[in-house]
Symmetry: C2
Subunit: 569 residues, 2 copies
């Protein structure tokens, strides 16, 4: 009879417990959770704060009692593991309700402690009006503050998943919100020009977005109101006084009523260190593909571990629910003597922000640059479904691939509808080792309400294949922004489009449908940087021009991408 002890009762730990019981009726399974809840829906916390999820209990997926009844798992909440003695295979545990300590032995130990919100060493960070959001207790505290203190203004620090979801939640509650982000963009998994789509959405919704801006200090607000005897306005209610004064890295200050710190998470490795198991280069627990640590009887899963990034195999921290669940299942099997393996992590992720969704899989361009890995990038802008059927909305897709082999390196997409689907398709194609050539031939569901006979993904495959085959030479917005004296921007859109959508700073405009008749207006000694609105007409023009002996390249993604790249926030 194997005795399995699991530390941490949320995604990875709870999955492992359930799977272990399904695989073995005889195993003794103990799950220790320092908090009050096991198996709660941590991805749902911001949505309860924002009011989309009305019932708090909807977030509590299992209870210790339900786990016991169904899976015969001994769940002990409010039980914190203080240390691990790997040689003796014992744990020191503290019951947080009774303050009693006790020891528990294990045959196999699974660490699923998660990751904790980073709290940078900022003066005033422990002010009671500064919150983080990791678990149900944190959520309750934020909601209590919203009810009790009726903040009129909130400041979210950090523009990652939780930061953006909290901005939306606070906005939905009618609270004016500032978002501080230290880097030049929110949503680090995507590249800056894609993040600009989010920046615009935040501004459109009235969020006070401050990029390149960190929080340097939190002070209680000492601003005292002007009294009626000074203003003479005896019949006015006392004006709301902000609670906090924030000092910013920009030198400016900001008054606000509450702060949500969402600057990222760090793996909880205290127990792993106490057990003496190896940590990895990124500071997470090091595991092999069986989710086993350097100690053969200690396994680890979830936000606390490092897993190999899909393309490079480099160690990565990927704090996502899907991988945690699958890792828990694999660890359970292996603790019971099976031999299951976790494969590399693409980090596929999606975030809803107001009316938009943004998603990504694989490596982004920033990472490829950093890794000095050769890549090409293309952009496709098209409709979420057949343009002639009502409700179609724009989809923007960025595809990164190896310019020699066509290997899919990464993909990012943004829009109002169908974003999850396109990144899902590309994530499967990448994982299957398909090349961008294969994307042309994917047979995806099509009827006018759902897609197009040539889906965005097919189109991206066609463009990328043209590039691989030498049937299209691309240029990029960065080049079009600063053409050399030997280059000429040729805009093949129709004149009204230049007025409506905007024009390139300096370009010759010949509409595509006139181009064949007006070729003699073009210089043969210059390189033509051909551009249209999204890149499709530019491709037709490019093909025409290069067959007529012109030197030309086509701007991938056209003016629409150019705008994304050039936008300043």
């Amino acid at each position: 009879m194997t005795k399995i002890v699991i530390v941490g009762g949320v995604a990875g730990g709870a999955s492992a417990a359930a799977r272990a019981r399904r695989m073995s009726e005889t195993a003794q399974i103990i799950m220790l959770e320092r908090g009050e809840f096991v198996s709660f829906a941590n991805c749902g916390l911001p949505y309860h704060i924002g009011g989309d999820i009305t019932s708090r209990s909807a977030l509590l997926l299992q209870t210790p009692e339900s786990f016991k009844k169904r899976f015969n798992v001994d769940v002990r909440v409010f039980n914190e593991v203080v240390s691990v003695d790997a040689a003796k295979k014992t744990l020191q545990i503290k019951n947080l309700l009774t303050d009693e300590s006790y020891e528990e032995s294990y045959d196999k130990l699974l660490l699923s402690p998660g990751a904790s919100p980073v709290k940078p060493p900022i003066s005033g960070i422990n002010n009671p009006h500064v919150f983080t959001l990791r678990n149900v207790a944190d959520m309750d505290a934020i909601i209590a503050a919203l009810i009790a203190q009726k903040p009129q203004h909130a400041t979210v620090v950090g523009g990652g998943f939780i930061g953006l979801e909290m901005v939306e939640a606070l906005h939905q509650r009618g609270i004016r919100t500032s978002l501080l982000e230290l880097s030049p963009q929110v949503m680090a998994p995507v590249d800056p020009e894609m993040a600009n789509i989010l920046h615009r959405e935040l501004l459109n919704k009235g969020v006070d977005l401050r990029l390149n801006t960190g929080l340097t200090a939190v002070d209680s607000c000492d601003a005292l109101p002007a009294e009626p005897e000074a203003t003479g306005a005896y019949d006015q209610p006392t004006a709301h006084q902000p609670t906090l004064k924030l000092s910013l890295s920009s030198g400016q200050s900001l008054t606000t009523d509450m702060v949500i710190m969402a600057v990222g998470v760090k793996p909880e490795t205290m127990l792993a260190s106490s057990a003496g198991v190896a940590l990895g280069e990124r500071g997470g627990i090091k595991v092999d593909s069986r989710m086993c640590t350097s100690d053969p009887d200690i396994y680890a899963v979830g936000d606390a571990v490092e897993t190999p990034e899909f393309v490079t195999g480099a160690a990565a921290l990927v704090p996502l629910a899907g991988p945690a669940n699958r890792q828990g299942r694999i660890a359970a099997d292996n603790m019971l003597g099976l031999d299951k393996h976790y494969s590399r992590t693409q980090g596929t992720a999606i975030c809803k922000l107001f009316d938009l969704a943004i998603a990504s899989t694989g490596l982004n361009e920033k990472a490829l640059k950093r890794l000095q890995q050769p890549y090409e990038k293309i952009y496709v802008h098209t409709a979420s479904h057949a343009g002639y059927y009502p409700g179609a909305t724009p989809v923007t897709l960025k595809l990164l691939f190896d310019p020699k082999t066509g290997q899919i390196l990464g993909a990012q997409a943004a829009g109002m509808d169908g974003i999850d689907k396109r990144i899902d398709v590309l994530a499967v194609a990448q994982r299957a080792g398909m090349s961008v050539r294969d994307l042309q031939d994917l047979e995806l569901t099509y009827a006018p309400p759902f897609g197009s006979a040539r889906d965005v993904v097919n189109q991206a495959g066609m463009v990328a294949t043209n590039v691989l085959d030498g049937d299209e030479e691309l240029c990029h917005s960065e080049e079009v922004a600063q053409p050399s004296a030997e280059q000429l921007i040729l805009d093949v859109r129709n004149p009204p489009e230049l007025v409506n959508a905007g024009a390139f700073p300096q370009a010759l405009n010949i509409p595509l449908d006139q181009l064949r008749q007006r070729l003699d207006e073009l210089p043969k000694d210059k390189e033509l940087l051909v551009a249209c609105q999204v890149g499709l007409r530019g491709h037709v023009a490019y093909r025409m021009l290069c067959q007529h002996g012109f030197k030309a390249r086509n701007l991938t993604g056209g003016f629409k991408t150019f705008q994304m790249v050039m936008a300043k926030f």
Copy 2:
């Protein structure tokens, strides 16, 4: 200079013309279209009839003039090709406006004639109130009849894509509608139990669904109204008199005002035959993977050709827009001397029916049975996204796979949301040659508004892998419907579920959470057919039981699938 003549100006032909021009500025390209329009959105026709697409001109994607301007293609509408002389490489063409005939030569000929609606030899089929829907003219005729004759009742014959879309369109216009389908189910690409989801939806919307019912004769209605002098009701408007009387294979008759024949399409092969190129076993034009017919200078694409089915490689007719577009592109390249290849066809398709979508890819169970190919099937019922986030709706997924190798053979899904996405993911996985084991590890986009940490597709992969690994033995609804004396159905749902959702005809009910304590109530000498609502709790019970020495199998898809299988319409 290559002279390319293209016969047919819609999906495949139009794609080929545009691609050919992009690849060659010097080619002479002529596109001959017997109808009035080229490159129209034929998939949109039912939606304009139903009123979703308000503007008729939205369906007309290109005109001869726009094609000429942009692609320098000589488009000749109302020009019908009468015959092909493959030896002389000439066409006989008739200008339908002037009735003049003329000859045109070609270097490369592309046949893209499409498929025409089957009009079975039924008495009265040419009645002016009987319509088919293939092109803009057909659509115009139907709309004209709707306006002029104000039908109160319509009859759609055939429950395929066009038939179902027409039922919805007519229903949306407030016309009571009967749907006749000769086979026991609508939507042939899916299996009967999946089609039952559509049958229910049709009945819920008030459609008069008649399965196993063919049309045998159409007669003008001779029913004369009772005159006021007989009824005494002088102040009543004359009652509406139905226009047609339909005789049905059931022996019944049906009065109606208009008939839409949508019993399928057959490839147009008249020209191919005239050219002497080979036809295939399914009656379509036979082409190689380069889309070349048996004549090296004649290519063919679209609904008229046979392509190899993905799993078996057998010749198949797949009249879908996506494949036609891709084939046109490939044919264009090859006519210009390149060497591009079309791969096998999965037949991925989707249909919207009122609030539902149903989609499929690969082979269905009916085909696998017919081919005597070994297969296993599983059903997963889960939510379109995290259940605790508002707006989640049920998704039903059926996955067919090779029980030895795990090869994905086919998939079908139905529900209100996220159906396109799931079948897209499975279509890519199948095309990539992934096994059902790989589905477990797919990293799909997850945030509560979009999916689940364990997506439907991941779950299907886990269930299938359990089956492959011998960690789960399945039973099917067909067996549960007729248990032998040596079998006992064990329903592990909670008693209120049996009341609300329905109960198995004869089953022992022990809720899962009591099962471990009540094992002694179970017979050791019988095979336990374990069942719950969707198959998840049944799996937990199955694992428990077989470890305690019971002989058991788990009902895949649970009671919900059982209901789908047993439903009678």
